[in-house]
């Protein structure tokens, strides 16, 4: 895994893990607090429901007391109870009238035997024996729910029992209010629901007890419950008021919290990734650049520049590499000098051998001519004519030999060269041979450079020719510029040859100075290689910059001419190099 990948991974882990842990912790705490609040609300409502039930129970009880007092005062009812036929209808209808006056939902008036003498909710059930209902009601503690018979089948009522004396008859009054959906709805508060679970429904309404059941918090209030058994006789059982608070609100909060936490994690991750990418790019790019430059370092290619104005470790490393390259460059120059001396020695031996080979026939001819002159002077002319060919061929051989050696000589004659004149002449020559637009931009007061004029001409000719040939379709501009570097000290002169031709890919760029590498059909691949060697011979530097489709820029830095200085490698780097 690359350094950048590791950096990204580390950054993401470092960002996501804390955020996720924080989010989970928040979520857990919020859920706990909300559930706790819900439970407290349910507990409070249970207390309120308790009080409401008792209030209703008291109200029913008070109305039965009032009704009993009214009955005791009612003479028509008294006569009816005693059997007066003309008051019979009055008695039968009494409970029905009282029902509406007392705002009760059920009312039975029973005689001491438990026979219904008047019923408000079921007017025509008079005469029926139902002693068990008041007996069970009187035995109950607190509010009691009873299933009461009606013509339509029956209904549930929160019932009470009381008694009163009319004449010499003790009557039982059973009254109550309907327990229906409206009743439980009135007990409900907000999103807390109240249900009545009858014994048969208690199992369906969830496990007995309290707490969180499924998606709700449930509390139960047991209530005595009286309902007819299979034989129709009332029996006591237990029903429950179920107080339920739906946790849907909590679930909604949780979902919302989860959503926002997820959003926060995603945003943090995205920001972390961006930051990590930026940082890794910032860190790795100069390293990559250093690595790329380092990979190009070779004894033959020590013109790689490691310059940086950074003050961090990367800048230090770049400077170290630059100094190392500089030392390598100096070492390489020494090595080349040693090689040159070795080659000169070898060449001297070769020259000695070759000269001997060329001089031996001459010496032999001269010895022969001396012998003839001494022994037969009259033949000297004849023999000279006869041996002249040998002399000529030997001299020609030596001449050729001299010419050949002259071509092999790497020695440069450093002198003050008028770069402006040479550059102008070269550009004019190359430009006239094509339709390419050429420009020469020379800084005023451009110093002379220390170089071999022939080598300088060859450098410029090669580079400008390459630039011209890179133009697509022969159209474009080639610009040759020269400027002094290092400000006023003018120790370096930079020659910049720029074209807007086809340019080169990075891979091509790295190999552009290699021997025999070419992208041109029919090219030898020696142009830039020779240029690079010539530049190095002139103790200069060369750099290339190119992008596909955007042209190529070649920068050649050469030492400025200083008459007092011996030509040779200059220490340090031009400050403007890059």
């Amino acid at each position: 895994m690359k350094f950048r990948g590791r950096l990204l991974l580390a950054f993401v882990v470092a960002v996501i893990l804390p955020v996720a842990v924080f989010a989970l912790g928040i979520r857990r705490q919020v859920a706990f607090e909300l559930a706790h609040q819900y439970e407290e609300r349910v507990d409070a409502l249970v207390q309120i429901v308790h009080e409401d039930l008792e209030r209703v129970d008291r109200r029913v009880s008070q109305r039965l007391v009032s009704l009993g007092a009214a009955l005791a005062e009612d003479n028509r009812f008294r006569l009816g109870i005693q059997g007066a036929e003309e008051q019979r209808a009055y008695v039968l209808d009494y409970a029905e009238r009282a029902l509406s006056l007392t705002d009760l939902s059920m009312l039975q008036i029973q005689d001491p035997e438990g026979r219904i003498v008047s019923s408000g909710h079921f007017r025509n059930e008079f005469g029926r024996l139902d002693p068990e209902l008041p007996r069970l009601l009187s035995g109950g503690v607190g509010p009691t729910v009873a299933r009461v018979r009606s013509p339509e089948g029956g209904f549930l009522a929160l019932a009470r029992v009381d008694s009163c004396r009319v004449g010499r008859t003790w009557l039982k009054l059973v009254g109550g209010v309907t327990v229906d959906a409206g009743f439980t709805e009135r007990l409900s508060r907000g999103d807390l629901t109240v249900l009545l679970a009858l014994p048969a429904e208690a199992v369906d309404s969830g496990p007995l007890g309290s707490g969180v059941v499924g998606e709700s918090i449930t509390e139960r209030i047991p209530l005595p419950f009286i309902s007819p058994g299979p034989d129709g006789v009332p029996r006591a059982d237990t029903a429950y008021i179920v107080v339920r608070h739906s946790l849907s609100g909590l679930a909604t909060v949780r979902r919302s919290l989860d959503l926002w936490l997820l959003v926060a994690i995603l945003v943090a991750t995205a920001l972390g990734l961006l930051l990590a990418m930026w940082l890794s790019f910032r860190v790795s790019r100069p390293l990559t650049e250093l690595a790329r430059k380092t990979s190009r370092i070779d004894l033959d290619r020590l013109d790689v520049e490691f310059s940086s104005d950074r003050r961090d470790e990367v800048g230090t490393l770049a400077r170290f590499l630059g100094e190392m390259t500089e030392r390598l460059r100096a070492g390489a120059a020494k090595l080349r000098e040693a090689e040159r001396r070795l080659a000169v020695g070898e060449l001297a031996r070769q020259v000695n051998h070759d000269l001997k080979n060329g001089l031996i026939p001459i010496r032999n001819v001269l010895r022969h001519l001396a012998q003839v002159n001494r022994e037969r002077p009259e033949d000297l002319s004849f023999v000279f004519g006869e041996r002249k060919g040998t002399l000529d061929s030997s001299l020609e051989y030596l001449g050729d030999l001299a010419a050949n050696y002259a071509r092999l000589s790497p020695a440069r004659a450093f002198e003050a060269c008028d770069l402006a004149a040479i550059a102008t002449e070269v550009v004019r020559g190359e430009g006239s041979a094509s339709n390419v637009k050429t420009e020469v931009r020379l800084e005023p007061d451009l110093p002379q450079v220390s170089a071999d004029p022939v080598a300088l001409r060859r450098i410029l000719e090669n580079v400008v020719r390459n630039a011209v040939e890179s133009l697509r379709g022969g159209r474009g501009t080639v610009t040759v510029a020269a400027e002094p570097l290092d400000g006023g000290s003018a120790r370096w002169v930079r020659i910049t040859i720029r074209d807007d031709g086809c340019g080169m890919a990075e891979e091509q760029l790295e190999r552009a100075s290699d021997d025999f590498f070419t992208t041109k059909q029919g090219g030898t691949g020696l142009g830039l290689s020779i240029v690079r060697r010539l530049v190095m011979d002139l103790h200069g530097r060369m750099s290339l910059e190119s992008r596909p489709g955007q042209g190529t820029t070649v920068r050649v830095d050469l030492p400025a001419w200083h008459p007092d200085e011996k030509p040779g490698p200059l220490a340090g780097q031009p400050s403007g190099a890059g």
Binding site: R88, G114, F122, R123, N124, E125, G127, R128, E152, P228
Partner: protein, 527 residues
């Protein structure tokens, strides 16, 4: 009140004697029956008859009146209003006495197959034109008047006008007495000539609203005013304003100053007792509430032809305590138990749904709930239904509970019995489908057309035909085949009361229970 009732017959006799000497048509041979109403048919203070000519009364109706139905009434309200506008050949009073109407006399011949009516000489339409025999026949045979005629299963074979004043009717079945159908409002004589109201033959005329041109499209009305336009001075009120006030407490009608109203509501009867300006008069027992069940699907079905009985204790309680109306246990055989001569048309597929529902119904077996249905707008039916339900509850007398259960199909010891009230349309639907275990319904005690009444009952509860073999369940069958005595369990008889403001003219009670002012009775008029 008692003294007034005692004076009524005496006054009737006196009035009848006076009227006999007032002139009118010359009595043909044989002499027409004396137009004297039975004394018990007078309701109210007879002394007010003489002085009532200039009076105007407000008469509360139980429902609206549709002039388009005239002269053939389709509701109790229309029966009362139309009776004041249109006359029949004869009239039958509440005691069953046949009295002259448009006919001054009548004779039977051919052993009772042919009946000839002599029209009154002074019988006139409202426009003054004489009522001729041809007009009578035209009224009976349709012409410009729509509506079914109440001939029953034996329509006349021929109707013949003998001159202007004699109408001869020939039947295929002989009658010893003049058939009471000639007193049925369905055989009223009238003539429709484009106005809203068909032209009648009494001195009363219905006031038409100013913007009313013709009878086409006339809507039922809540208010109809009759004005006496002669001839002579009316023995009844000069102006009768009939009004129907829907959804009104009957006591409000008293407070609003109505002079006449009929009610079964106990509350208004008690209210009137508290007031000195009103009197109440009991009307004949006119309605029997029955428990309608299917004989074949219930236990303890008695022998064929024997009506179902009701335990005396149950009957006493129902009439004396359960029902908050004037009620009594049913007495004697009911008319539907004697309707052997009726032929009833059963609806197609009668009883198929009922059989499927009750013969072996998983729904009933599973729920064990049986319902006794009643019309929710009938408080007496509600009281009866609820009492029957109460009797099946624990703590009730065992014998009475068993009796109730025996009346219900598939009733078991643990079956739950409930009472269920339906609105009119829902009740009619439930009755037609037979979806409930039993129904409490009211039947008239003295229908003017018993066969028609039974026909309507069978048409609305086709499942009554289930006792017949399949092929007989469509078409016309004799009523005896249905043995309705086993399906209709009489529970109580009820009656209404007429409430009269003091000083208002008395009314006559006709044989079909209709109340009518005497001015429309030619034998009582003062002309």
């Amino acid at each position: 009140m008692t003294s007034r009732k005692a004076a009524a017959p005496l006054f009737s006799l006196l009035l009848a004697a006076l009227c006999a000497g007032c002139g009118g048509p010359s009595p043909p041979a044989p002499a027409p029956p004396a137009p004297v109403y039975s004394p018990e048919c007078w309701i109210g203070d007879p002394s007010q008859v003489v002085s009532s000519g200039a009076q105007a009364v407000r008469f509360a109706l139980p429902g609206p009146v549709d002039p388009a139905h005239a002269p053939f009434p389709r509701s109790p309200s229309e029966r009362i209003v139309f009776r004041h506008l249109y006359q029949t050949l004869i009239r039958v009073d509440c005691a069953g006495a046949v009295l002259p109407g448009l006919a001054a006399s009548w004779t039977g011949s051919d052993g009772g197959l042919t009946w000839t009516f002599l029209l009154r000489e002074d019988a006139r339409f409202r426009d003054g034109s004489p009522v001729r025999a041809a007009d009578v026949i035209a009224s009976w045979t349709g012409g410009t008047l729509s509506g079914d005629r109440p001939w029953g299963p034996d329509p006349p074979e021929s109707l013949t006008a003998l001159g202007d004043r004699r109408v001869r009717v020939t039947f295929s079945r002989a009658s010893a007495d003049v058939p009471a159908v000639f007193a049925d409002p369905g055989l009223s004589v009238a003539r429709r000539e484009g106005s809203t109201w068909a032209m009648g033959t009494t001195g009363y005329r219905a006031d038409a609203p100013a913007n009313e041109a013709t009878g086409s499209g006339a809507a039922p009305r809540d208010r109809v005013t009759l004005s006496w336009l002669g001839p002579g001075i009316p023995p009844g009120p000069e102006r009768i304003q009939f009004e129907f006030q829907p959804a009104s407490d009957a006591r409000d009608l008293v407070d609003q100053g109505f002079d006449v109203l009929v009610s079964r509501d106990v509350s208004v009867l008690r209210y009137v007792l508290e007031r000195t300006d009103y009197d109440s008069w009991p009307l004949p027992w006119d309605r029997t509430y029955v428990l309608l069940v299917h004989a074949l699907l219930t236990e303890g079905t008695p022998e064929a032809g024997s009506p179902r009985g009701i335990p005396a204790s149950v009957a006493r309680t129902l009439a004396g305590e359960a029902v908050r109306a004037e009620a009594r246990p049913p007495r004697g055989p009911r008319w539907w138990e004697r309707a052997d001569g009726c032929f009833l048309r059963l609806p197609a597929g009668a009883g198929v749904g009922y059989a499927a529902r009750w013969a072996r119904s998983p729904e009933v077996e599973e729920s064990r709930t049986l319902r006794i249905a009643f019309r929710s707008d009938d408080p007496t039916a509600r009281d009866l239904s609820e009492r029957l339900v109460a009797l099946t509850g624990p703590g009730s007398a065992r014998g009475e509970a068993e009796w109730v259960r025996r009346q219900l199909p598939q009733a078991a010891e643990d079956s739950r019995v409930q009472a269920l009230g339906h609105g009119p349309s829902a009740f009619a639907r439930a009755l037609g489908e037979g979806s409930e275990a039993a129904y409490v319904i009211a039947l008239p005690d003295r229908p003017s057309a018993p066969c028609e009444e039974l026909g309507n009952l069978v048409a609305s509860a086709g499942w009554l035909g289930l006792r017949l073999p399949g092929p007989e369940r469509s078409g016309i069958v004799p009523a005896s085949r249905l043995d309705l005595g086993q399906s209709l369990v009489s529970l109580v008889q009820t009656r209404s009361r007429l409430i009269l403001r003091g000083g208002t003219p008395p009314l006559l009670l006709e044989g079909d229970g209709t109340l009518v002012y005497p001015a429309t009775s030619p034998g009582v008029g003062t002309r």
